[in-house]
Amino acid sequence: MNRRTVLNYFLGSSIGATLSAIVYPVIQFLIPPVVSEAAQSNVVAATANELRPGTAKIFKFGSAPGLLLRTPTGDVRAFSAVCTHLNCTVQYRPDLEHIWCACHDGHYDINGKNITGPPPRPLEQYEVNVRGDDIIVSKG
């Protein structure tokens, strides 16, 4: 009698513990994580009035940096910010009015075309769409 009661308690509590070992991760899973959004291949790179003409910003595009550029004449363009020479991150030089890679002094014009220095190819260009107040960059 006693033995059986003990056995039942053992069974009940161990099954209960197993269930909580299942429920705990599930509950944790349901709580939204701190970083709220998954990276994506179209991304809101900036808001429409964030960039003045002749400035640019680096944004994270999937697992690589992108360069969002507002040309001095006001066009918005987006490129991969990965230099085609040795994968450094390129930047916009307002003084030169074109894109520049600091690592080996590679120069690209504002169309992403390599003009001087070691880069062998133009930068990959992305598509830019303006949706409401957001500048949305997407691949191809």
């Binding site: 039942n8 161990s14 197993t18 070992a21 697992s63 080996h104 220095g117």
Partner: protein, 421 residues
């Protein structure tokens, strides 16, 4: 029906016209008496030119023997055909070759009618070369146009069979410059070619087929071939290595190197055998290039400090990398951290360039952001490893709980079945 007939007719006329043009062109070469006679001559010295021109770029552009050599190609009589009065020139003397080719190639108006983008300054440049100066002094062994470009089978530079195609320049220059016998009396080394072949430039050119990698002419000039002066080396290298050159020009080394007459970039990187530089050539240890001049004092310690700074970043990245690799092997998803660490790698590449300013302060500024990124990535990597450890502990705990549940179930089954019996 009528339309169809028209179409057939048009086609017939067109093909007939096409055929006659082909005939016309063949006829024009057939009536070129230079080729007509020379190709059948038994002496190869005289027959080869007529045969070789078939693959010549000039032939392809519609030029014939007479276009360069003068004379009258419609005459069947030898004397009249090769009449000096009609401008016939046989084989030009070495000293006359540049002028011979320059007749057309220095004439911008003429060249433009064939290829508007072709340059016309070759002869001018050639006159500045060591080759030309030697020729002018009566040395017939120095190079003229035809030494490199060939004659009668001259091909366009972009033609891979051309002697001056980037991949064949080394061989072409080397024909003379490697030959110790031939070069005897010029007092210049003949080991440039094997040295060059061991360089990072040759590796890029031949192994990676990167035609923008420099070969002989890219540093020495193609037509005005001459060794660059010691003080202009950094300008030559700087045509590609722009930023390094800029930094060097502003560095304390520039005036000193020029004063000593040591060729700027070459002092550390060699000229023909320019190897892929490593961090090991920087510093104040024995094998570092800095130690060639600096054995003590401020330069000595600056070299050491710069090496330490680069090393700190490089090793930091290496160790963070290793931690992330371990994380990956443990099945952790660390691609986001790897992405961030890549930025640090950019700073390292940048720092290696900034070294050419030879200022420890400048270098420290370049390195600082990289160090910060590396520290963060490393921190996150360690967190990922901790998480992997936590998973294993969690697993162990879960397995204990499940194991107990299995045991309990087993005992219960046994108990029930004993009672049932």
């Amino acid at each position: 029906m009528k339309d169809l007939l028209k179409l057939v007719l048009a086609w017939a006329i067109f093909s007939l016209a096409a055929e006659t043009t082909v005939f016309a062109r063949q006829a024009s070469t057939a009536t070129d008496t230079c080729v007509g006679c020379h190709k059948d001559l038994t002496e190869s010295r005289l027959s080869l030119p007529a045969l070789a021109t078939a693959s010549d770029v000039h032939t392809g552009r519609g030029l014939s023997c007479a276009s360069c050599h003068g004379g009258d190609a419609s005459e069947t009589d030898k004397k009249r055909a090769m009449n000096p009065a009609k401008g016939f020139v046989g084989k030009p003397r070495a000293a006359g070759v540049a002028e011979f080719c320059g007749k057309c190639h220095s004439d911008a108006t003429f060249i433009k009618s064939f290829n508007p983008s072709l340059r016309v300054d070759q002869e001018l440049e050639y006159r500045t070369s060591v080759h030309s100066k030697r020729i002018a002094e009566g040395d017939t062994r120095a190079a003229t146009c035809i030494s490199c470009h060939g004659h009668h089978d001259i091909r366009a530079v972009k033609d891979t069979n051309s002697r001056v195609h980037p991949l064949r320049v080394v061989e072409t220059c080397g024909r003379c410059h490697v030959d110790a016998e031939y070069m005897k009396g010029y007092q210049i080394p003949t080991d440039q070619l094997p040295k060059y072949m061991s360089s990072v430039h040759a590796e890029n050119l031949y192994k990676k087929l990167d035609l923008s990698a420099p070969t002989c002419n890219d540093c020495h000039g193609n037509h005005g071939a001459a060794p660059p002066g010691a003080a202009s080396v950094s300008n030559v290298c700087g045509t590609c290595h722009v930023r390094q050159s800029e930094l060097f020009q502003k560095s304390p080394h520039k005036p000193v190197f020029d004063g000593l007459g040591i060729g700027e970039c070459l002092a550390c990187h060699n000229n023909h055998d320019t190897r892929h530089p490593t961090d090991a050539i920087l510093g104040n240890h024995k094998t570092a290039v800095c130690a060639t001049c600096h054995s003590e004092g401020a330069g000595f310690s600056a070299a050491g400090n710069m090496r330490l700074a680069i090393g700190r970043l490089a090793e930091g990245i290496g160790s963070a990398d290793e931690i992330l690799e371990r994380g990956t092997r443990l099945g952790m998803e660390v691609s986001r951290i790897k992405f961030d660490l890549n930025q640090a790698r950019n700073h390292l590449i940048d720092a290696r360039v900034v070294v050419h300013g030879f200022s420890p302060d400048l270098l420290d500024t370049a390195i600082k952001p990289g160090i910060e990124i590396t520290r963060k990535a490393r921190q996150q990597g360690i967190e990922a490893l901790d998480e992997a450890g936590f998973r294993r502990k969690g697993l162990a705990l879960a397995l204990i709980v499940i194991g107990l549940a299995i045991l309990a179930t087993y005992l219960k089954v046994r108990d029930i079945e004993k009672a049932g019996r």
